[in-house]
Symmetry: C2
Subunit: 222 residues, 2 copies
């Protein structure tokens, strides 16, 4: 039985796929993918049947169960936007498959946050003032979480639908942080400098990545 | 003038290079690389002259200056282990090049920490107890930094030469964290579960990546 492969599709640009991902797509009998994986990447699996996976948890779980069963006979590739281990549930799929006796492998990919940093020239760390990076995702995020994490740079992975909450959390915990909102980073999209107040106006543009540099708390002594 | 390219070489396995990286290597006149980039990746730049870049800051800076000058006439690729924007000074090289009128691009790559998570099955986040990840690197790291960053999962990028300090910091701030030490993750290496006390015994095995899950402070009420 060939393994079920959970494969990082990278940030969107097909050239940012790994050689391994391309090879697995070309050999696949079935390719499964969510909304965020672009059509021209799915199309690289030329001979494969296509399965679109819904966003909602129940849809996702039903689709994964069916794919695990198919993997007993066919070469199945599940494409995950970015890297499957950064908020991607990639290992969860493999745990389920293996519990049913289906071997499974996760293939890492280029994450959208490093693509945003590289392509839009946002230094996440500089070896001086910016010493560390914290990665957060909705829904596991709120003012309490942001105020507990004291990293110089924050990266927030989200769907663009909780921007009011993000703005509130940032206003409280790093009001003078340098905020960027990134959309479609490797497909002609952008990372725009925004004020905290402007963030909610980007609602609905998904997926979004918010990068905040110099997320420092106001000095209580002042 | 073609741009100077600063390219993520990924975690070590040549199959985890991006299609873009392979293409740039195949077209390169000059390929520059540090100690951590494996020989079989450098060898993909078949026609290229090779430049080995030293680890020390002065050597690195001298080499970068020479490469920027060469990029005026030749296609130069600078390979960076993993992704060039995660503690990789990738954007710093481009800033210097552009300051001298040489165009420059950074090509993201698969980072070694997501490769460790994918290949060695270490869930960085689980959507429940593990809600966020913090990325740290030596030398910008110490007990004070670790105790300030309250992320559920910590990833420490390092050279394997400060393990006593790491152990001290972890003992103070998350004594019951699940610690893994990862070496050569995509080239037959391993991520081993270790106790905090065992960490110093791995000294000298570089590069090392330390992943700590459930880095929670002891509850002061108890």
């Amino acid at each position: 039985m060939s393994p079920l492969y959970v494969v990082g599709a990278g940030p969107g640009d097909p050239k940012l796929l790994t050689l391994k991902a391309l090879e697995l797509l070309q050999e696949a009998d079935v390719v499964a993918y969510g909304d965020l994986v672009p059509e021209d990447i799915v199309a690289l699996a030329k001979g494969a049947a296509r399965v679109r996976i819904g966003q909602r948890r129940e849809e996702h779980e039903r689709a994964v169960e069916a794919l695990i069963e198919e993997a007993r006979e066919k070469r199945v590739v599940v494409l995950k936007n970015g890297d499957p281990t950064i908020f991607g549930r990639g290992l969860e799929i493999c745990r389920k498959a293996e519990a049913r006796g289906v071997p499974c492998e996760v293939v890492p990919g280029v994450s959208s946050f490093t693509a945003a940093a590289a392509l839009h020239r946002i230094e996440l760390t500089d070896g001086k003032e910016l010493r560390h990076v914290a990665l957060l995702a909705y829904p596991h995020f709120g003012p309490d979480v942001v105020s507990n994490i004291r990293a110089d740079t924050l990266v927030i992975f989200m769907m663009g639908n909780k921007l009011v909450e993000v703005a509130n959390a940032l206003r409280e915990t790093c009001p003078s942080g340098e905020v960027y909102i990134c959309i479609n980073v490797s497909r002609g999209g952008s990372c725009r400098r925004a004020t905290i107040e402007e963030l909610p106006s980007y609602a609905g543009q998904r997926p979004a990545l918010i990068i905040v540099r110099r997320c420092w708390r106001p000095d209580p002594a002042k």
